[in-house]
């Protein structure tokens, strides 16, 4: 399995986006082609259960904790990527 993240260097925005899209595809129960503009619920069919699974998978993939009460209300993929970027920056500092 590819290692998506090295603890010793920050992850690029591009790698982060690739990782998020990959996780969404792997977690989804049906084939999807997510983009940054996709909405988790409206476009990708993610219900709350699947969203929780995606969060758990993203946590393991990027080795960070994503507090459930801080998950963006907007479920656009781009917003999720931005949130992960903030969390990763917090971890680096």
């Amino acid at each position: 399995m590819l290692s998506w993240l090295s603890m010793s260097r920050p992850i690029s925005r591009e790698r982060l986006e690739e990782g998020v899209l990959d996780v969404l595809k792997s977690v989804s129960r049906r084939p999807i082609e997510p983009t940054l503009d996709s909405d988790l619920a409206a476009d990708l069919g993610f219900d709350s259960l699947l969203t929780l699974e995606a969060i758990a998978e993203l946590e393991d993939r990027f080795d960070l904790s994503i507090p459930l009460n801080e998950v963006p209300l907007s479920r656009k993929v781009s917003r999720i990527v931005a949130h992960l970027e903030e969390l990763l920056e917090e971890r680096e500092t």
Binding site: A56, L68, N69
Partner: protein, 421 residues
Amino acid sequence: MTDAGLDLLDKLRAAELRQAHAASTSDSPGVAPGSTVIDRVLGVCEVEIGGRPTLMFGSNNYLGLTVHPEVVEAACDAIRRYGTGTTGSRAANGTLALHEELESQFVDWSGKRHAIIFSTGYQANLSVIGALCGPGDVILVDGSSHASIFDAARQTAAQLIGFRHNSPESLRRRLERLPAGQRNRLVVVEGLHSIRGDVAPLRELVAVSKAYGAYVLVDEAHSLGTYGLRGFGCCEAQEVLDEVDFVVGTFSKSLAGVGGVCVSELHELRALRVLARAYVFTASGSPGNVAGVSAAVRVLRQHPELRARLWENLRRLRAGLRDLGFAIGETESPIIPIAAGDERHAIALWQRLLEAGLYVNLIVPPGCSPDDCVLRASCSAAHTPEQIARALEILGHVGAELASHAPFTRPASGRCDRSCT
């Protein structure tokens, strides 16, 4: 409609539309899910629905104590002596000697130093988690936890982190990310899952939690009365009761009433009586209810054969379901999730079973994945062999009738979500 919503009522309208759609696409126009009305209670495990005698295999009356003569008489006697309600908070005029007596019983039963009872199990979680955690704290919650646990965690300003269901490794990875040397974290798990019917590996979960300085709360809603040598739940059964900081239970399952309890060895638990909003700002348990639960605790402790009978019954039911070819949950427990395919098929199956005289619980989205719906059957010590045989007969007949739509070959994961994210 935007994320913020142009009209408060849009959310309610959307929910009604979903319900109407589900009803319109149902294969059989029977009772709408969520609309079951029980007209009469014919016996502890039999009710009347729509004029039909119906076997009840969907309650949480695990020991059948709702109609036990001692429990009923205690409740009636308390109503005659104290009236029908306290009309007040525990912090004001709502503490009767009955409340303190029940708390003493829990101290004795659990072996812990302190016990506080609450008006509902939901409020027990709101109170304990709400009082314990605040800004800067971290709550780590099993991802499949009950809605009351998620609601309790969300009401605080603490960080809420989910870990994979019953996974000590998933918990460990999340604890490891937290700053070392601090104790401002609470791990919350359930002993027996209310839908999946599986049991938490408490020894491992507690060990991991303690290694990272976390307090542990175990919600034994469905396991109080059904597990353990003296019936005090999964913590007792797995010999970790001494290490668990807070055990929360509910009165609305084995204890045949309404309410909740928290027991702890920690003196600090007493502060909940002034800190917990869901304890202070609500009416206390009614006299009849509290006295009934008190009697139920006595009966449960004096009659361990009730638990033995429960386990005998659930084994018989599980074996029968397997013989019929149903895919059921792997764990042997009083809760038996039965795979029911997609939502449309699950609703049809549930309705046909009801028409044939058997009630089980229907679990459909958003409570589970769309293709992973479940019929949740539960067993009671009060079920007779004849009732179990009749239930299996109905399940076999209806299952065969609808078998062309779903072969029931996939194991029932019983995965469900009450997180309301």
